[in-house]
């Protein structure tokens, strides 16, 4: 019984939030890694692009709510996703045509493209703040909980409650669907294979007749899906605030590099590595130990490795350790 309580406690406060947060990071990390693999630069506008897509979803959600369209128990934001994705893709293709294309054609150094992406970051951030403002917005509607702590306690008779928020379930389900379609596309279809070929060796791919324009366009389209869905899921789960999205770029980068940049599957797992590390290291285990240890050994302190203030610092430290001992990432990415 005590053990079961301890397990539920961990599940409720660490494992479920970590899986949710990890899924959101994973989508962003695949986005970073795809751009890095195919277009060959570190995209510093990642966070703001996610924010841009989410902004459309937020605005449309407010509009749909005002005219009374909804999905019942599910959040209205899911209904607005397709429109937001289309807007995001159009914006990305526009930016690519007028900004990135020039440097790609003239084969500029990756650093230069990274600096250009900083410019795109500034502009995107400005557009977002001018359109929607810098404020914190909640756009979650519909049913909030699938399982409430009190219901769970009644059902099982345990001391510890288990809460499952609907956003957590939606995040996991949507991530699984999107990522499986993506990996099926990359590994099984001809177009996906040509994309991977282009990412592995550009010259060889061009020689074998792969159209680079098509590959680049496809990459941006996939990136638009990942950025918008990742951003909306994060916004539903927490809230939408442009500054937070900009900051989220950092753990996303950490996830992409930890997983081996240029390797989508690595980035996917990297997201979970970062999320689990952040939450497990900053969780206070006092209650957990009171359940599993005999009374005489119960700890007095919080038994917390690091305070929650250092949540971001944890993921960055992991990145530093990975860079020191395995610079190409845990799952073998591109050579550096």
């Amino acid at each position: 019984m005590e053990l079961l309580n301890a397990f539920i406690l961990l599940l409720n406060y660490t494992i479920i939030p970590a899986i949710t947060y990890g899924s959101q990071l994973a989508l962003g990390a695949i986005f970073v890694t795809l751009i890095y693999g195919v277009l060959r630069f570190a995209n510093f506008a990642t966070g703001d692009m996610m924010s841009f897509g989410t902004m459309f979803a937020v605005l449309l959600t407010f509009y749909f709510q005002s005219i009374g369209i909804g999905l019942g128990v599910l959040p209205t934001a899911l209904l607005t996703l397709p429109f937001a994705i289309i807007a995001m893709i159009l914006y990305m293709l526009f930016i690519d045509k007028f900004v990135f294309k020039y440097y790609r054609v003239s084969k500029s150094a990756p650093v230069q493209l990274a600096m250009v992406s900083v410019g795109v970051m500034f502009v995107t951030q400005a557009i977002i703040r001018i359109i929607i403002g810098p404020f914190d917005r909640r756009f979650l509607d519909g049913e909030k909980f699938i399982l409430k702590a009190s219901e769970f306690k009644e059902m099982t008779g345990l001391n510890e409650g288990l809460t499952i928020k609907s956003t957590q379930a939606i995040t996991v389900v949507v991530t699984i669907i999107l990522v499986s379609i993506l990996f099926w596309f990359l590994n099984k279809t001809k177009t996906g294979t040509s994309m991977r070929a282009y990412s592995d060796n550009e010259d060889l791919a061009l020689l074998s007749g792969i159209d680079p324009k098509r590959v680049v366009m496809l990459t941006w389209i996939i990136a638009g899906f990942l950025a918008t869905v990742g951003g909306v899921l994060y916004g539903l789960d927490k809230s939408y605030k442009p500054f937070v999205y900009f900051n989220n770029m950092l753990p996303i980068f950490a996830a992409a590099i930890v997983g081996g940049i240029g390797n989508p599957f690595g980035a996917f797992l990297g997201g979970y590595v970062i999320a689990f590390a952040e939450i497990f290291i900053t969780y206070a285990y006092k209650k957990f130990f009171t359940y599993i240890l005999p009374e005489s050994l119960e700890p007095d302190s919080l038994v917390q490795l690091l305070s929650t203030d250092y949540k971001f610092a944890v993921s960055f430290s992991i990145l530093v350790i990975v860079l020191l001992f395995r610079p190409s990432g845990i799952f073998e990415g591109k050579k550096i």
Partner: protein, 458 residues
């Protein structure tokens, strides 16, 4: 002379713009902008040394700036004896433990050659050390933070003159750069950018959350100044006499004595704030000029040529027997030290230390825009970049507001679009900076004042 014509023109335009601000807004605002321009110029020079001389991309500017600011607190604030007696011993013990960990890691690195075994030992010693530090330090931290938390709650500094902290800021930043350089300098350029950015985030989060060190997000206010205080000036007779003399004509126009006194009082108050800012400007200008002379000398020395050779072709320079790794580390440390110095200057200028304000947007990316816009590899360009971009960053809001009002004059004041645009005027600075950067990268990639390499012909 012709060679320097474009430099002189560019700087004159910049000076003219700042004078315009003085005339249209106020001289106090103009001097504030000028001081910040000078500080930005120092930061940009630091970044330019790394990027322009050696091609190293450092997105960690924010971290070094924060360390420079921390140095001001640690050096100039008076020590808090109660806090030291409450938990000083614990903190000193923790410091020795950190040194112990470093020494033991070095020892392991030297003595053991089996790679797997070595890594496990290092991990073990670090984890054990961290646990020990936590056990030793946590009662100390609690005791220190409970000493009058509204006012102190930290160990305080050394109580030394504030100018001394500028050097210490540089040294602290150099120390951090040494560690970061050892970890990250072998990485490819864009990895280096990400790694330095993330390490800077770690540094800032430590400064933010270790309250015993510098009060964290509770801020330290009322820092010492290297220049006189306004209130002292307003009470010193020589200053009042000086203001009276300078404004003789204006004062003579007023007839009643009491009115004359009021006007003089107001003039003295205004003049005191301008005088203080001018003193700061003098100090900053001295720093900028000294740095400019030193960096120009370095750029045109054999060492500077070696750095350019390494930047332009690492393999070739390596083949010529130049130690690329060592030179990269050296230049990384030098550049970061200058950024640390700028961080200390900025906190001295503000008179307060606010760890919460260190954000990557303002302290990394804007500085990088300055470097790119000014001209990489050229110190005159770097300074100009600092001036231009800071000026835009500050004045973009008012300019946008003016333009919005101008283009929407035919709309009523309650028009939703107009109200929304006026509310979001401050964010136009991001737009202007971003578009400016994109245009520069596209049409003038070498910056406003491009790098000039003088090759002597034989």
């Amino acid at each position: 002379m012709r060679k320097y014509l474009n430099i002189i023109t560019a700087y004159s335009i910049m000076l003219f713009l700042i004078i315009l601000v003085g005339i249209f807004q106020s001289w106090s605002t103009a001097l504030t902008i000028l001081n910040y321009c000078l500080i930005s110029a120092v930061m940009t020079m630091g970044a330019n040394i790394q990027w322009g001389y050696a091609g190293l991309i450092n997105f960690g500017i924010m971290g070094y700036t924060a360390l420079g600011g921390l140095a001001v607190v640690l050096v100039s604030v008076a020590p808090v004896p109660e806090a030291w007696s409450a938990g000083g011993i614990n903190m000193l013990l923790s410091l020795f433990l950190i040194i112990g960990i470093v020494i033991s890691v070095k020892f392991i690195l030297k003595k053991f050659h089996d790679k797997k075994y070595k890594n496990y030992l290092i991990a073990l010693s670090i984890i054990l050390g961290v646990i020990l530090i936590r056990i030793v330090s946590s009662p100390g931290i609690e005791a220190i933070e409970s000493v009058d938390p509204a006012k102190t709650g930290f160990l305080g500094g050394l109580g030394l003159p504030v100018l001394f902290s500028w050097i210490v800021g540089g040294l602290l930043a150099a120390g951090l750069a040494f560690i970061v350089g050892k970890i990250a300098l072998g990485l490819r350029a864009d990895y280096l950018a990400i790694a330095t950015l993330l390490i800077a985030e770690i540094v800032v989060s430590i400064v933010k959350h270790e309250d015993w060190l510098a009060r964290g997000v509770k801020n330290v206010i009322g820092l010492k100044r290297p220049v006189p205080y306004e209130i002292d000036l307003q009470n010193s007779p020589w200053f009042i006499n000086l203001v009276e003399k300078l404004n003789q004509g204006k004062l003579n126009l007023i007839n009643s004595v009491s009115e004359q006194k009021d006007v003089l009082n107001q003039l003295v108050i205004d003049a005191s704030s301008i005088y203080v800012k001018l003193c700061m400007t003098g100090l900053f200008l001295t720093v900028v000029i000294i740095l400019l002379i030193v960096t120009q000398k370095a750029l045109n020395s054999p060492w500077g040529r070696k750095m350019r050779a390494i930047r332009d072709n690492e393999e070739a320079a390596g083949a010529m027997g130049k130690n690329v790794v060592k030179e990269h580390l050296l230049i990384f440390i030098l550049g970061s030290a200058i950024v640390g110095l700028a961080g200390a200057m900025m906190v001295t200028n503000d008179g307060l230390f606010t760890p919460g304000s260190y954000r990557p947007m303002r302290y990394t990316f804007v500085i990088w825009v300055m470097v790119i816009v000014g001209g990489t590899g050229n110190n005159f360009g770097a300074i100009l970049g600092g001036f231009v971009v800071w000026f835009l960053w500050v004045e973009a809001g008012p300019m946008a507001l003016f333009l919005i009002n101008f283009f929407t004059t035919h709309l009523s004041d309650t028009n939703a679009l107009k109200v929304h645009l006026i509310e979001s005027a401050p964010y136009f600075r991001f737009l202007i900076i971003g578009i400016g950067l994109l245009l520069m990268m596209r049409y003038r990639p070498k910056g406003l004042i491009p790098e000039k390499i003088n090759v002597k012909k034989f």
